[in-house]
Symmetry: D2
Subunit: 100 residues, 4 copies
Protein backbone atom coordinates (compact mmCIF):
# COMPACT_ATOMS: atom_id res chain seq x y z
CA UNK A 1 0.00 0.00 0.00
CA UNK A 2 1.40 3.37 -1.03
CA UNK A 3 1.24 6.23 1.49
CA UNK A 4 1.89 9.94 1.59
CA UNK A 5 2.97 10.94 5.08
CA UNK A 6 3.74 14.20 6.83
CA UNK A 7 6.12 13.61 9.74
CA UNK A 8 7.12 15.91 12.60
CA UNK A 9 9.48 14.44 15.20
CA UNK A 10 9.98 16.34 18.47
CA UNK A 11 12.75 15.12 20.81
CA UNK A 12 12.11 16.13 24.44
CA UNK A 13 14.53 16.60 27.29
CA UNK A 14 17.37 17.80 25.07
CA UNK A 15 16.84 21.54 25.23
CA UNK A 16 15.25 23.97 22.87
CA UNK A 17 17.13 23.26 19.65
CA UNK A 18 16.24 20.02 17.93
CA UNK A 19 17.49 20.56 14.37
CA UNK A 20 20.36 18.08 14.60
CA UNK A 21 17.88 15.32 15.44
CA UNK A 22 15.61 16.31 12.56
CA UNK A 23 18.62 16.38 10.22
CA UNK A 24 19.50 12.84 11.32
CA UNK A 25 15.94 11.81 10.55
CA UNK A 26 16.18 13.26 7.04
CA UNK A 27 19.20 11.12 6.38
CA UNK A 28 17.47 7.99 7.64
CA UNK A 29 14.49 8.63 5.39
CA UNK A 30 16.71 9.27 2.37
CA UNK A 31 18.83 6.21 3.09
CA UNK A 32 15.59 4.18 3.01
CA UNK A 33 15.11 5.32 -0.59
CA UNK A 34 12.05 7.40 0.23
CA UNK A 35 11.01 10.52 -1.66
CA UNK A 36 11.02 13.33 0.91
CA UNK A 37 10.46 17.06 1.10
CA UNK A 38 11.41 19.08 4.18
CA UNK A 39 9.20 22.05 5.11
CA UNK A 40 9.04 24.43 8.06
CA UNK A 41 6.96 22.15 10.30
CA UNK A 42 7.71 18.63 9.15
CA UNK A 43 8.69 16.43 6.24
CA UNK A 44 6.53 15.07 3.42
CA UNK A 45 7.31 11.42 2.64
CA UNK A 46 6.10 9.24 -0.21
CA UNK A 47 6.59 5.48 -0.37
CA UNK A 48 5.38 2.02 0.49
CA UNK A 49 3.70 1.70 3.93
CA UNK A 50 6.20 -0.75 5.41
CA UNK A 51 9.27 1.10 4.13
CA UNK A 52 7.94 4.38 5.51
CA UNK A 53 7.07 3.07 8.97
CA UNK A 54 10.26 1.04 9.30
CA UNK A 55 12.17 4.25 8.57
CA UNK A 56 10.10 6.26 11.10
CA UNK A 57 10.74 3.60 13.71
CA UNK A 58 14.46 3.85 12.94
CA UNK A 59 14.26 7.64 13.45
CA UNK A 60 12.95 7.03 16.98
CA UNK A 61 15.63 4.43 17.73
CA UNK A 62 18.47 6.62 16.46
CA UNK A 63 17.24 9.80 18.19
CA UNK A 64 17.00 7.90 21.50
CA UNK A 65 20.55 6.62 20.87
CA UNK A 66 21.67 10.23 20.30
CA UNK A 67 20.56 10.96 23.87
CA UNK A 68 16.93 12.07 23.73
CA UNK A 69 15.03 10.28 26.52
CA UNK A 70 11.61 11.10 25.11
CA UNK A 71 10.17 11.71 21.65
CA UNK A 72 6.71 12.92 20.66
CA UNK A 73 5.94 12.63 16.97
CA UNK A 74 2.97 13.67 14.87
CA UNK A 75 2.06 12.05 11.59
CA UNK A 76 -0.53 12.79 8.91
CA UNK A 77 -0.98 9.82 6.65
CA UNK A 78 -3.02 9.40 3.48
CA UNK A 79 -3.89 6.37 1.37
CA UNK A 80 -6.24 6.15 -1.59
CA UNK A 81 -7.50 3.38 -3.82
CA UNK A 82 -9.27 5.48 -6.46
CA UNK A 83 -6.11 6.65 -8.22
CA UNK A 84 -2.36 7.13 -8.03
CA UNK A 85 -1.34 10.50 -6.64
CA UNK A 86 2.18 11.77 -5.93
CA UNK A 87 3.21 14.57 -3.56
CA UNK A 88 3.67 16.86 -6.58
CA UNK A 89 0.21 15.96 -7.88
CA UNK A 90 -1.31 17.07 -4.58
CA UNK A 91 0.38 20.46 -4.66
CA UNK A 92 -0.32 20.97 -8.39
CA UNK A 93 -3.97 20.08 -7.91
CA UNK A 94 -4.42 22.88 -5.38
CA UNK A 95 -2.34 25.41 -7.32
CA UNK A 96 -4.40 24.80 -10.49
CA UNK A 97 -7.51 25.88 -8.59
CA UNK A 98 -6.19 29.14 -7.19
CA UNK A 99 -7.79 32.03 -9.08
CA UNK A 100 -5.26 34.65 -10.14
CA UNK B 1 9.93 -0.53 21.48
CA UNK B 2 6.79 0.40 23.42
CA UNK B 3 4.64 3.26 22.13
CA UNK B 4 1.67 5.28 23.23
CA UNK B 5 -0.28 6.42 20.19
CA UNK B 6 -3.28 8.66 19.61
CA UNK B 7 -5.03 7.70 16.37
CA UNK B 8 -7.71 9.53 14.38
CA UNK B 9 -8.79 7.88 11.12
CA UNK B 10 -10.91 9.95 8.68
CA UNK B 11 -12.43 8.11 5.69
CA UNK B 12 -13.16 10.47 2.77
CA UNK B 13 -15.65 10.14 -0.05
CA UNK B 14 -18.20 8.25 2.05
CA UNK B 15 -20.37 11.10 3.26
CA UNK B 16 -20.49 12.94 6.52
CA UNK B 17 -20.93 10.10 9.00
CA UNK B 18 -17.86 7.97 9.58
CA UNK B 19 -18.64 6.24 12.88
CA UNK B 20 -19.10 2.78 11.38
CA UNK B 21 -15.55 2.93 10.01
CA UNK B 22 -14.16 4.09 13.34
CA UNK B 23 -16.07 1.28 15.11
CA UNK B 24 -14.49 -1.23 12.73
CA UNK B 25 -11.10 0.22 13.58
CA UNK B 26 -11.74 -0.22 17.31
CA UNK B 27 -12.43 -3.89 16.74
CA UNK B 28 -9.24 -4.34 14.72
CA UNK B 29 -7.18 -2.70 17.46
CA UNK B 30 -8.81 -4.83 20.15
CA UNK B 31 -8.39 -8.00 18.13
CA UNK B 32 -4.67 -7.18 17.94
CA UNK B 33 -4.56 -7.36 21.74
CA UNK B 34 -3.84 -3.66 22.16
CA UNK B 35 -4.90 -1.59 25.13
CA UNK B 36 -7.16 1.15 23.75
CA UNK B 37 -9.29 4.03 24.96
CA UNK B 38 -11.77 5.78 22.68
CA UNK B 39 -12.28 9.54 23.16
CA UNK B 40 -14.19 12.22 21.29
CA UNK B 41 -11.46 12.92 18.71
CA UNK B 42 -9.48 9.70 18.42
CA UNK B 43 -8.30 6.59 20.22
CA UNK B 44 -5.42 6.15 22.66
CA UNK B 45 -3.42 2.99 22.00
CA UNK B 46 -0.67 1.38 24.04
CA UNK B 47 1.51 -1.46 22.80
CA UNK B 48 4.59 -2.63 20.97
CA UNK B 49 5.55 -0.51 17.92
CA UNK B 50 5.15 -3.26 15.34
CA UNK B 51 1.86 -4.56 16.73
CA UNK B 52 0.43 -1.05 16.79
CA UNK B 53 1.45 -0.11 13.25
CA UNK B 54 0.45 -3.46 11.78
CA UNK B 55 -3.01 -2.90 13.30
CA UNK B 56 -3.20 0.68 11.97
CA UNK B 57 -2.25 -0.58 8.50
CA UNK B 58 -5.01 -3.16 8.79
CA UNK B 59 -7.48 -0.38 9.68
CA UNK B 60 -6.61 1.33 6.39
CA UNK B 61 -6.94 -1.90 4.40
CA UNK B 62 -10.30 -2.81 5.92
CA UNK B 63 -11.77 0.70 5.62
CA UNK B 64 -10.80 0.78 1.94
CA UNK B 65 -12.42 -2.66 1.55
CA UNK B 66 -15.58 -1.25 3.18
CA UNK B 67 -15.77 1.21 0.29
CA UNK B 68 -13.86 4.32 1.34
CA UNK B 69 -11.66 5.39 -1.60
CA UNK B 70 -9.52 7.74 0.47
CA UNK B 71 -8.40 7.90 4.10
CA UNK B 72 -6.54 10.66 5.93
CA UNK B 73 -5.26 9.70 9.35
CA UNK B 74 -3.50 11.63 12.07
CA UNK B 75 -1.28 10.05 14.68
CA UNK B 76 0.48 11.32 17.79
CA UNK B 77 3.13 8.89 18.90
CA UNK B 78 5.33 8.87 21.99
CA UNK B 79 8.30 6.74 22.99
CA UNK B 80 10.58 7.14 25.99
CA UNK B 81 13.67 5.39 27.27
CA UNK B 82 13.94 7.02 30.70
CA UNK B 83 11.11 5.05 32.28
CA UNK B 84 8.00 2.92 31.75
CA UNK B 85 4.80 4.93 31.48
CA UNK B 86 1.28 3.66 30.79
CA UNK B 87 -1.68 5.62 29.43
CA UNK B 88 -3.14 5.78 32.96
CA UNK B 89 0.18 7.04 34.33
CA UNK B 90 0.08 9.95 31.88
CA UNK B 91 -3.42 11.00 32.90
CA UNK B 92 -2.72 10.49 36.63
CA UNK B 93 0.47 12.51 36.40
CA UNK B 94 -1.44 15.55 35.09
CA UNK B 95 -4.37 15.14 37.49
CA UNK B 96 -2.02 14.99 40.48
CA UNK B 97 -0.75 18.45 39.58
CA UNK B 98 -4.10 20.19 39.21
CA UNK B 99 -4.61 22.47 42.22
CA UNK B 100 -8.05 22.08 43.72
CA UNK C 1 -19.32 28.71 15.46
CA UNK C 2 -19.14 25.68 17.77
CA UNK C 3 -16.02 23.53 17.68
CA UNK C 4 -14.80 20.25 19.09
CA UNK C 5 -11.05 20.37 19.56
CA UNK C 6 -8.38 17.92 20.61
CA UNK C 7 -5.40 19.75 22.08
CA UNK C 8 -1.90 18.51 22.89
CA UNK C 9 0.55 21.10 24.22
CA UNK C 10 4.26 20.18 24.38
CA UNK C 11 6.60 22.59 26.21
CA UNK C 12 10.21 22.27 25.02
CA UNK C 13 13.44 23.11 26.78
CA UNK C 14 12.11 22.25 30.24
CA UNK C 15 13.19 18.65 30.53
CA UNK C 16 11.35 15.42 30.09
CA UNK C 17 8.40 15.88 32.44
CA UNK C 18 5.75 18.29 31.26
CA UNK C 19 2.72 17.35 33.36
CA UNK C 20 2.74 20.50 35.50
CA UNK C 21 2.39 22.59 32.33
CA UNK C 22 -0.45 20.42 31.05
CA UNK C 23 -2.18 20.67 34.45
CA UNK C 24 -1.94 24.45 34.26
CA UNK C 25 -3.52 24.29 30.82
CA UNK C 26 -6.42 22.21 32.15
CA UNK C 27 -7.14 24.89 34.72
CA UNK C 28 -7.07 27.65 32.10
CA UNK C 29 -9.52 25.74 29.90
CA UNK C 30 -11.84 25.07 32.84
CA UNK C 31 -11.65 28.67 34.01
CA UNK C 32 -12.79 29.67 30.51
CA UNK C 33 -15.97 27.68 31.11
CA UNK C 34 -15.14 25.08 28.48
CA UNK C 35 -16.26 21.46 28.59
CA UNK C 36 -13.07 19.38 28.66
CA UNK C 37 -11.96 15.78 28.90
CA UNK C 38 -8.35 14.83 29.55
CA UNK C 39 -7.01 11.66 27.90
CA UNK C 40 -3.59 10.02 27.64
CA UNK C 41 -2.41 12.10 24.65
CA UNK C 42 -4.33 15.37 24.84
CA UNK C 43 -7.53 17.04 25.93
CA UNK C 44 -10.94 17.12 24.23
CA UNK C 45 -12.53 20.56 24.33
CA UNK C 46 -16.02 21.65 23.33
CA UNK C 47 -17.11 25.27 23.01
CA UNK C 48 -17.42 28.38 20.90
CA UNK C 49 -14.53 28.98 18.47
CA UNK C 50 -13.38 32.28 19.96
CA UNK C 51 -13.59 31.10 23.57
CA UNK C 52 -11.61 27.97 22.73
CA UNK C 53 -8.82 29.72 20.84
CA UNK C 54 -8.54 32.55 23.33
CA UNK C 55 -8.04 29.91 26.03
CA UNK C 56 -5.45 28.03 23.94
CA UNK C 57 -3.57 31.28 23.37
CA UNK C 58 -3.64 31.87 27.11
CA UNK C 59 -2.17 28.38 27.65
CA UNK C 60 0.80 29.37 25.48
CA UNK C 61 1.25 32.70 27.28
CA UNK C 62 1.10 31.15 30.75
CA UNK C 63 3.40 28.21 29.88
CA UNK C 64 5.99 30.64 28.50
CA UNK C 65 5.61 32.68 31.72
CA UNK C 66 6.24 29.48 33.71
CA UNK C 67 9.63 29.28 32.02
CA UNK C 68 9.21 27.22 28.86
CA UNK C 69 11.08 28.99 26.04
CA UNK C 70 9.41 27.00 23.27
CA UNK C 71 6.06 25.27 22.83
CA UNK C 72 4.88 22.98 20.04
CA UNK C 73 1.18 22.23 20.06
CA UNK C 74 -1.02 19.98 17.95
CA UNK C 75 -4.72 20.53 17.46
CA UNK C 76 -7.48 18.54 15.79
CA UNK C 77 -10.50 20.73 15.21
CA UNK C 78 -13.95 19.85 13.90
CA UNK C 79 -16.92 22.00 12.86
CA UNK C 80 -20.17 20.92 11.25
CA UNK C 81 -23.26 22.68 9.95
CA UNK C 82 -25.47 19.65 9.32
CA UNK C 83 -26.32 19.02 12.96
CA UNK C 84 -25.41 19.62 16.60
CA UNK C 85 -22.99 17.05 18.01
CA UNK C 86 -21.41 16.95 21.47
CA UNK C 87 -18.24 15.14 22.54
CA UNK C 88 -20.41 12.43 24.16
CA UNK C 89 -22.45 12.07 20.96
CA UNK C 90 -19.25 11.34 19.01
CA UNK C 91 -18.14 8.60 21.39
CA UNK C 92 -21.66 7.12 21.67
CA UNK C 93 -22.03 7.07 17.91
CA UNK C 94 -18.94 4.88 17.52
CA UNK C 95 -19.77 2.63 20.49
CA UNK C 96 -23.27 1.97 19.12
CA UNK C 97 -21.70 0.52 15.97
CA UNK C 98 -19.26 -1.86 17.62
CA UNK C 99 -20.55 -5.42 17.16
CA UNK C 100 -20.42 -7.41 20.37
CA UNK D 1 2.55 36.62 19.93
CA UNK D 2 4.13 35.34 16.73
CA UNK D 3 3.32 31.79 15.61
CA UNK D 4 4.44 29.33 12.99
CA UNK D 5 1.56 27.06 12.06
CA UNK D 6 1.11 24.03 9.85
CA UNK D 7 -2.51 23.75 8.70
CA UNK D 8 -4.34 20.87 7.02
CA UNK D 9 -8.05 21.39 6.35
CA UNK D 10 -10.16 18.36 5.35
CA UNK D 11 -13.74 19.00 4.17
CA UNK D 12 -15.98 15.96 4.67
CA UNK D 13 -19.16 14.96 2.86
CA UNK D 14 -18.09 16.51 -0.45
CA UNK D 15 -16.51 13.52 -2.14
CA UNK D 16 -12.95 12.49 -2.59
CA UNK D 17 -11.44 15.58 -4.20
CA UNK D 18 -10.96 18.52 -1.88
CA UNK D 19 -8.41 20.67 -3.75
CA UNK D 20 -10.84 23.46 -4.61
CA UNK D 21 -11.53 23.97 -0.90
CA UNK D 22 -7.84 24.00 -0.07
CA UNK D 23 -7.23 26.49 -2.90
CA UNK D 24 -9.91 28.76 -1.41
CA UNK D 25 -8.16 28.50 1.93
CA UNK D 26 -4.84 29.56 0.38
CA UNK D 27 -6.48 32.70 -0.95
CA UNK D 28 -8.01 33.53 2.42
CA UNK D 29 -4.63 33.15 4.13
CA UNK D 30 -2.90 35.29 1.51
CA UNK D 31 -5.63 37.93 1.66
CA UNK D 32 -4.97 38.13 5.41
CA UNK D 33 -1.40 39.17 4.62
CA UNK D 34 0.11 35.99 6.02
CA UNK D 35 3.34 34.42 4.81
CA UNK D 36 2.39 30.93 3.58
CA UNK D 37 3.97 27.92 1.94
CA UNK D 38 1.87 25.11 0.47
CA UNK D 39 3.27 21.57 0.71
CA UNK D 40 1.91 18.11 -0.08
CA UNK D 41 0.09 17.64 3.23
CA UNK D 42 -0.73 21.13 4.46
CA UNK D 43 0.32 24.75 4.49
CA UNK D 44 2.99 26.48 6.58
CA UNK D 45 1.83 29.84 7.92
CA UNK D 46 3.79 32.54 9.72
CA UNK D 47 2.18 35.53 11.43
CA UNK D 48 0.64 37.03 14.52
CA UNK D 49 -1.53 34.64 16.57
CA UNK D 50 -4.80 36.54 16.18
CA UNK D 51 -4.36 37.18 12.45
CA UNK D 52 -3.58 33.51 11.86
CA UNK D 53 -6.52 32.13 13.83
CA UNK D 54 -8.98 34.67 12.47
CA UNK D 55 -7.95 33.54 8.98
CA UNK D 56 -8.29 29.85 9.89
CA UNK D 57 -11.75 30.53 11.29
CA UNK D 58 -12.62 32.26 8.04
CA UNK D 59 -11.44 29.18 6.10
CA UNK D 60 -13.95 27.09 8.04
CA UNK D 61 -16.77 29.58 7.47
CA UNK D 62 -16.11 29.87 3.74
CA UNK D 63 -15.69 26.12 3.18
CA UNK D 64 -19.01 25.49 4.95
CA UNK D 65 -20.57 28.19 2.74
CA UNK D 66 -19.16 26.37 -0.32
CA UNK D 67 -21.27 23.38 0.70
CA UNK D 68 -19.13 21.21 2.97
CA UNK D 69 -21.27 20.15 5.96
CA UNK D 70 -18.31 18.99 8.04
CA UNK D 71 -14.64 19.94 8.32
CA UNK D 72 -11.86 18.26 10.27
CA UNK D 73 -8.67 20.26 10.51
CA UNK D 74 -5.26 19.52 12.00
CA UNK D 75 -2.86 22.19 13.16
CA UNK D 76 0.71 22.16 14.41
CA UNK D 77 1.55 25.40 16.14
CA UNK D 78 4.82 26.70 17.53
CA UNK D 79 5.68 29.71 19.66
CA UNK D 80 9.00 30.62 21.25
CA UNK D 81 10.24 33.38 23.49
CA UNK D 82 13.98 32.68 23.33
CA UNK D 83 14.50 34.10 19.85
CA UNK D 84 12.92 35.15 16.57
CA UNK D 85 12.70 32.35 14.01
CA UNK D 86 11.12 32.43 10.55
CA UNK D 87 9.86 29.48 8.49
CA UNK D 88 13.03 29.73 6.34
CA UNK D 89 15.21 29.74 9.47
CA UNK D 90 13.66 26.46 10.57
CA UNK D 91 14.34 24.74 7.25
CA UNK D 92 17.86 26.23 6.97
CA UNK D 93 18.69 25.14 10.49
CA UNK D 94 17.97 21.49 9.63
CA UNK D 95 19.66 21.61 6.23
CA UNK D 96 22.84 23.06 7.76
CA UNK D 97 23.11 19.97 9.94
CA UNK D 98 22.71 17.34 7.22
CA UNK D 99 26.10 15.72 6.58
CA UNK D 100 26.88 15.50 2.88
Amino acid sequence: MKVIVDLCVVPMGVGVSVSKYVAQCQQILEAAGLKINLHAYGTNIEGEWDTVFTAIRRCHTVIHDMGAPRITTTIRLGTRTDREQSMEDKVDSVKAKINR
